[in-house]
């Protein structure tokens, strides 16, 4: 016998409609589902189920919980699938609900899970906008769920906001709540009417922008958890494009405030000297890298017994990318020749690998590197020394001396003395050739440079 079931299209009405059909053991395919308000013609309709005195099968609570959610799923068979499962439960008992081997059970569970997620997202993403009418504050929201969940989702808002007058509007049904009259369900509202925003909406956007960490971007994760179809009603999402666009700039700013120095690119200890040189050329770890033309790594044989460390590249060195090739370099070469050394016998490098300067008219004027620059760059110098293992290191000028000793020193008090550098290398300090060039009376400094180089050469002979 074929029957029709006529009911309001929500779970409680469906449950009342199917009770007699279950008692009659009517199969799912023998029922015409006629929810009120559907467009189906009433002609040729099967008769409604007769009133029966057969006992209604008692159903476990677990079934109702599952069916209530599963029935909210938007599908042509949203009313018949839960009925089919109800028949299985009536025939075989509540434990069939655990048997995911049965297609209908599996499908109803899948639908219930999808609906739970949809309800959860409605609880999460509904945004109330404050409006004022004659009776006071009224909070209005519009949300677009995938399924018929208004009756599943509303009780949560009532429990939470029971002192507010509020409206939950969705294309698949609406609910209006007042503390006096409770919930009234109504028809769907197709379009979003956007209410005006107040200062707290603006503050919410401020909050959202402040907690985003530009160093980590996982927009796929964000989109999968917060689908874009909800973005229209969530004011903070209008910031996302801007936040993402600004992320590189914010990172660059934070990198400028928070320079990583050499350690960001430094190769492992086992890597060869050439890898250290490559890392120096790649380094953007401090503010000096930006304006410079070239980074200037050290130069010379890896077997050199003497390493000479200057302050930083100058104008010529920056242009060519090689150390000691400008006027100060020529002065140093003369001083080396005077103690019997050739450029090719020593390893030449600087404490700081980029040219610190300021532009004046069209000229680039040398600026002394700050202690921070030298500290950030120091790992490169130590990496070079660890590859070469020279007999002696000659530090020229105050920056090189401070970097190698790990403390500020008065140059005059250490010139020519045998010292120990951080990392254990033997160290001799001399004046920087650029200082000699700048000084009108430089004979004393020239003598001290010559003296330092002479002592260093003597050390290589005594240990050879």
């Amino acid at each position: 016998m074929r029957y029709s079931a006529v009911f309001e299209p929500h779970f409680d009405a469906w449950r009342d409609a199917v009770r007699p059909l279950l008692a009659l053991k009517t199969e799912a395919q023998d029922i015409e589902w006629r929810p009120v308000g559907s467009t189906q013609s009433g002609l040729f309709a099967a008769p409604p189920a007769p009133v029966t005195d057969r006992p209604l099968p008692s159903m476990p609570r677990a079934f109702f919980t599952l069916a209530r959610s599963g029935l909210a799923f938007d599908a042509p068979d949203r009313f018949s699938l839960p009925y089919a499962v109800a028949r299985l439960v009536a025939e075989r008992g509540g434990q069939v609900l655990d048997d995911i081997g049965i297609r209908e059970v599996r499908e109803l569970k899948r639908r219930a899970k999808t609906v739970h997620r949809d309800v959860h997202k409605m609880h999460a993403f509904v945004r109330f906008a404050k409006t004022i009418d004659d009776a006071g504050e009224r909070w209005v929201s519009w949300h677009r769920p995938d399924h018929f969940i208004i009756r599943q989702a509303t009780p949560h808002f009532v429990r939470r906001f029971g002192d507010m007058r509020f409206a939950l509007l969705t294309p698949k049904g609406s609910a209006v709540f007042t503390p006096e009259d409770g919930v009234v369900y109504g028809p769907g509202v197709a379009h979003h009417i956007s209410p005006t925003q107040d200062d707290l909406d603006a503050l919410w956007c401020t909050y959202y922008a402040s907690i985003y960490n530009p160093a980590r971007t996982l927009t796929d994760a964000m989109r999968s958890e917060m689908p874009m179809k909800h973005w229209g009603t969530m004011p903070e999402t209008k910031l996302i494009a801007r936040l993402l666009a600004e992320a590189p700039k914010r990172l660059a700013e934070s990198a400028a405030r928070n320079p990583q120095g050499a350690s960001a690119v430094l190769p492992p200890d086992a890597a060869p000297l050439s890898a250290v040189h490559d890392a120096i050329r790649r380094c953007r770890g401090c503010p000096l890298a930006g304006p410079a033309t070239h980074a200037v790594p050290g130069e010379g044989p890896q077997t050199a017994r003497i390493v000479i460390v200057g302050e930083q590249p100058g104008d010529c060195e920056d242009t060519e990318g090689r150390p000691f090739v400008g006027p100060a370099g020529r002065l140093l070469m003369d001083a080396l020749n005077a103690v019997g050394l050739e450029r090719e016998q020593v390893y030449l490098t600087n404490a700081v690998k980029h040219f610190h300067h300021k532009k004046q008219n069209k000229q680039r004027l040398h600026e002394r590197p700050e202690a921070l620059h030298a500290e950030l760059c120091a790992p490169f110098l130590h990496a070079e020394l660890s590859r070469i293992q020279p007999t002696v290191v000659v530090a020229l000028g105050t920056t090189a001396a401070r970097t190698l000793l790990g403390r500020a020193v008065k140059l005059q008090s250490v010139y020519g003395r045998r010292l120990t550098a951080r990392g254990g290398h033997t160290l001799i300090v001399g004046p920087h050739p650029a200082a000699i060039l700048r000084r009108p009376d430089s004979s004393e400094l020239r003598r001290q440079l010559h003296d330092a180089l002479l002592k260093a050469t003597a050390m290589t002979r005594s240990t050879a």
């Binding site: 599996r106 993403f125 429990r159 909050y207 985003y212 160093a215 964000m222």
Partner: protein, 406 residues
Amino acid sequence: MELAQKLSILADAAKYDASCSSSGAKRTRPTDGFGNTTGMGICHSYTPDGRCVSLLKILFTNRCIFDCAYCVNRLSSNTPRASFTVAEVVRLTVGFYRRNTIEGLFLSSGIIKSADYTMEQLIEVARRLREEERFGGYIHLKAVAGASKEILARAAQVADRLSANIELPTQKDLDTLAPAKTIVETETTMDQLHNISQTEGPKKLMPAGQSTQMVVGATAASDASVLDTSNRLYTSHRLRRVYYTAYSPSSQPHAALPTKPVGLLREHRLYQADWLLRFYQFRVDEIVQPGQNLALDKDPKLAWALSNRAFFPVDLNRAPREALLRVPGLGTTNVQRVLSLRRQRTVTVDDLRHMRVSLKKTLVFLEIPGDRSAVRHLDIQSLEDRVKPRQLNLFATGQSALTGQV
């Protein structure tokens, strides 16, 4: 200073606290008020870095009398400073909550004057929310280590959760980076909070319990010592959650700290190991050897299974729950499903497929009628390559604080 500017500074300063959860407490709406907590957290938004926004997470002030090396708000940092008033925090919390953008408030603070004085400010915010605004939403307050017992008891009256941060796994680590802090003092505070929460009374105090946070990778401490500390906190102080946060160089680094950020993957593996301790009945020494770190290329449960092959195959239809929980790829939910189903009939490979279990990873460790995966592959050399994931799921690393199912 404008409220928006304060909010910007004090929200930015609070983002280094990993805890975002609003779950674990149930609180019904006061009859004359608004707000409740449902017991399960709700993420009301997501930031472009994929993180959940559930609470208004801010500092009351980022001024601080301490100089802890790993902290962006330390005394010697030149970060911009701001302080809220009690009324401002109340207004923001109520305003955001009524718009349905948050589940509640997570209020922490730099230490001003003293531990007690700082906590007084936080308690006053919570008290006004509860008593004057009749707010029933979630409130998580920072418990400042060393605060007096009376102050802690008052905080427990108004908060759902309190957290005293352990910060680093051992006293040696604290001595290096946070010389003003001691493990003993923090654990004393935890102990007092636990006792307070057990007090009999008309209402349950701090229903969401205590949590804490450990910074990982700022010192050389191994994962083994991190997990030992967690285990102690779970067992002796009954902590609800330990959060791990991979050390990332803050915008104002300290010279004593490493400048390379520790991988999020290490943080992810610690969360997985933490889940094994709490829900899978593993012991720390089964997961990681003393002084060692967790493997990064495979999850800790798989790593255990690969080095304990004699334990397998596990009989899907007969083994007890504890044994099923040790099978890689079977999480607590699916183990429960298997147990319910096998009361009725034999559980098959198809059933596992319907549960969306990763068969490639799981079958070799199981004995199932008609399936020979275990017989064929369990004893071969290349088992590890067979079951190890080819690509590491980096999305998972962003989610691991929420669900650590392994």
